[in-house]
Symmetry: C2
């Protein structure tokens, strides 16, 4: 039963790497500050093991111990995480366009990527007077319920689409799409229009307009959205600005379809640059 | 010599945790995408060990393997890092004030914290037409050369100040303070004025105005700055806006000195709320 029993090369439990990752996984939204025993319990580790591993993580800067004795995720782990191309790398390229859109709309502007069956928000600019949104940077939402999610799902590989369509879909509001046939039609509309409009699907008071961002191989790598108050919203007035910003980011990422065309040349690809 | 030799409980090299952290440390600015052998070399690990640990990290989402075969930091690690209170937690509270300042100034707005003898930028909003700045989110700069750095150093514990004053200071431009006595005077001025003005110390073309952000125990936990073109800059016109935004963030963080005072009450602390 004791994990130190004998000196076998392959213990029955998770590897040390798995234990370290288990410790990091113990932290999450609403669990930003934990005691050592809380970490041990959540990660399923003996206190002595947790003590040793947490000490190593804190020495490196992955965790920080506050004066209150609680452990929190450390600045160094955030710095390493900031190197993820799908987070801050993407964000850095997108930021000028997000800022332009934010200035022009004075509403919420969001940038998100897909991870499995969820949306992960990598940036959010919220105007002080804009409608409240529930997303947060680093937060997740289901694909079927959000504008950015429907865009990311519409351009996801077919198996991902089928998995989402086959699974139960949570109704965040009475207006959230939860019917597979309805979602299938919505995704087809997104592909046809190049834009998703979701009215009241996350919050009855908010409407989002989302467009796809493409990478250098033309695949959709992210989605951009503007969230405005549902009451009185005119999606037609928002769509062009969202599309233009998404195209600008796609160009910054090297998407061939978003290249600037030389003045006076109409057909794409002419002149070779 | 072989790491698997025998079945000793304490190998001579770094622990598994140390190896895992060594793999993460192999990534950095300019080294965002690495081959497996590049990771092994930088982390000082045998290829077989690196292969196994990288596989575990990729399965969890700490690393992602691209179609080009290169490994990059994964979205999941960024998500965990986003829980660091000194990064996105701070940023979330500060963002409305940063956005207000950005709207008002249409220049660069930065939020930074101190880590050891360096500044780490946790947010940067850059207006498309603003003067170019060299900071990047997640990036570091020396304390002595930057506005945010001088603020963070001015309010740092005395031993940290003495260490920085005793060490050689790099001249990023001919105007960077590199003389300990001069820096000591500059820090005293920051504490007296509650603001740092750095003209041409990082880039001859840029001037920064920085102010301290205080936490719930009144200690300075971050610094906010606006960076404008040096030519024609009028710091006096910038200081009040920077001070006001820093105070707003301090209030959002619960700093008692930044509490709103009830209307009509002049003395601080009266009425108990």
């Amino acid at each position: 039963m004791s994990p130190a029993q004998g000196a076998r090369e392959k213990p029955a439990g998770p590897s040390v790497t798995g234990r370290v990752l288990g410790i990091l996984s113990a932290f999450g939204p609403g669990a930003e500050a934990l005691t050592l025993s809380g970490i041990a319990r959540t990660a399923g580790l003996p206190l002595s093991t947790a003590h040793r591993l947490v000490g190593e993580l804190a020495a490196w800067g992955a965790l920080e111990r506050g004066e209150d004795g609680l452990y929190r995720i450390g600045l160094r782990l955030w710095e390493v995480g900031a190197l993820a191309p799908r987070s801050l790398g993407l964000r850095e390229r997108a930021m000028p366009y997000l800022e332009d859109l934010y200035e022009a709309m004075r509403q919420n502007v969001q940038l998100a990527v897909r991870d499995g069956h969820e949306v992960v928000y990598v940036e959010r600019l919220a105007h002080p007077e804009a409608v409240r949104v529930f997303s947060r940077v680093g937060g997740r939402m289901p694909l079927h319920a959000t504008g950015v999610g429907q865009v990311l799902l519409a351009y996801a590989p077919a198996p991902v689409q089928e998995e989402v369509l086959a699974a139960p879909m949570a109704a965040l509001t009475p207006r959230t799409i939860t019917d597979p046939s309805e979602l299938r039609r919505a995704l087809a509309a997104v592909r046809r229009e190049g834009v998703a409009v979701c009215d009241g699907m996350v919050d009855l008071l908010a409407l989002s307009v989302a467009a796809p961002v493409r990478g250098e191989d033309e695949r959709v790598v992210a989605s951009l959205s503007v969230v405005v108050p549902s009451a009185g919203a005119e999606p037609r007035a928002i769509v062009p600005a969202v599309r233009a910003a998404a195209r600008g980011i796609s160009r910054a990422l090297g998407a061939p379809s978003a290249r600037r065309r030389p003045v006076g040349v109409v057909s794409p690809g002419a002149s070779g640059t």
